[in-house]
Amino acid sequence: MTRWAKRFLIRGVFWRELLRYSVLNCPPFLEPVAIAASSFVILLWGPGRRGVMRNLAAIKPRSWAVTNFLRTYRVFWNFAWTITDTVRFKEFRTSPDWEFVGLEHWNALQAHPGGAIIITAHMGSYDLGAHVFAAVSDRRIVMVRAPESDPDTQEFESRRHEVSAADSLRIDFNIKSTDLAIELLHALEAGHLVAIQGDRVTPGIGSVPVDFFGKTTAIPAGPFALAMASRVPIYPLFIIRKGRRSYALQACPPILVERRSRNRDEDLRPAVQAWARQLEEIVRNHWQQWFTFEAFYDEAAA
């Protein structure tokens, strides 16, 4: 397939450019129409639709396939709104309404001397949350992102991030895990916050198997290994969409990773399992916003 044709694949740069163009041209009172139509178009993406339906079958066992199909539309509806809000923020600096839930943990994170890790999921708007965090906090934050699979899309996103990122927000792509780990360690030692998504394993990243909705899945070990090495707490933080241009930033009690033995994996396991339980609870209550478009478990192994 030619490079030009790849632009039109689901992860191709054409759809990012179309989204940006739409945000620049769609009247606010027509957004619901455009979002509804876009969600329907995303629903035609077979692998994504099937991935979400498989996940929903595990999150909501004994539910009918037709019900999960309608739920899948709702997932794509929330996804379309979320990415639109993110692009609108980058273009116009239009902030949504925010509600901080778990304020005591949020304040503890702000007041924590030294570095800390923020672990979150593919839920709500990771980008938007990081930018708003940078705006309302005086802490410097380093946000780790998985690189885009399409090089043109990666270049497009890097350009948009350069244009829109605040001084207190730095974005790193986990292309080379060892180089990045050293940089993140230095950031934590300098007292900065490091934000990582902890619900998806990208190729080449170490992982720990956990039980998740009765299935075995892999959780990235990186955030926990980093916390162990730098002796900083991990704060689970979730960005939950409440409605049009309205989000809740839910902070949860910190997870501590302690080195107790020579077996690093065994020492990581309690923290990873604590995170998995937290993630499971959030996903159970907000399944319509968990933007994981591949099955989180191996059906053959399950």
Partner: protein, 174 residues
């Protein structure tokens, strides 16, 4: 970007609405809303912020457009088919308005132009059907009445601007 912290009644600030009729209604609700404190709440001040206005306008535009398209179609087609074609046609037409290349640099925002074009077509359709036979003229009169109401509200908003809460709050720079 201006924001108001910890005050849930700020959701009804008129400056969070675009259309004058909604601004007036919001002003009434803001005055009546209980004053309480909700720690951790951040309300952004932007004229297109509210869901109720956005969804209401979208429903009115799509419904009115569909009915205007349905009226001539239903004379030739069975009503379910006519309704389906009318609805799809309106959705496509609205997307044409959104995506039609604007005059000028395509990298710039043309939201105001597209908004004007959308309302213009709605008004033109309402004027056309206002003198038609049958039930469709009542739909047209409703749309024209709503536009007139908004125009009257715009005069009231302009006159009462100094008395309306201006979205006092703090400036953040995200």
């Amino acid at each position: 970007m201006r924001v108001v912290r910890d005050r849930p009644e700020a959701r009804w600030l008129p400056s969070r609405f675009r259309f004058a009729a909604f601004k007036l209604a919001a002003w009434m609700l803001y005055r009546a809303a209980p004053r309480r404190r909700q720690p951790g709440l951040v309300v952004a001040i932007d004229r297109d912020q509210t869901a109720v206005e956005s969804y209401s306008m979208a429903i009115v535009i799509v419904t009115a457009g569909t009915l205007f398209a349905f009226d001539p179609l239903q004379r030739y087609l069975a009503w379910p088919l006519a309704a389906t074609i009318a609805f799809i046609s309106v959705v496509i037409f609205l997307h044409v308005i959104i995506t039609f290349p604007p005059i000028g640099a395509w990298q710039n925002s043309h939201i105001e132009l597209k908004s004007f074009v959308t309302i213009f077509f709605l008004a033109a359709a309402a004027i056309h059907f206002a003198t038609a036979d049958g039930w469709i003229r009542y739909v047209a009169w409703l749309i024209l009445a709503a536009m007139s109401l908004n125009a009257a509200a715009a005069i009231v908003v302009r006159l009462a601007k100094s008395r309306m809460p201006a979205g006092d709050g703090e400036e953040i720079n995200p």
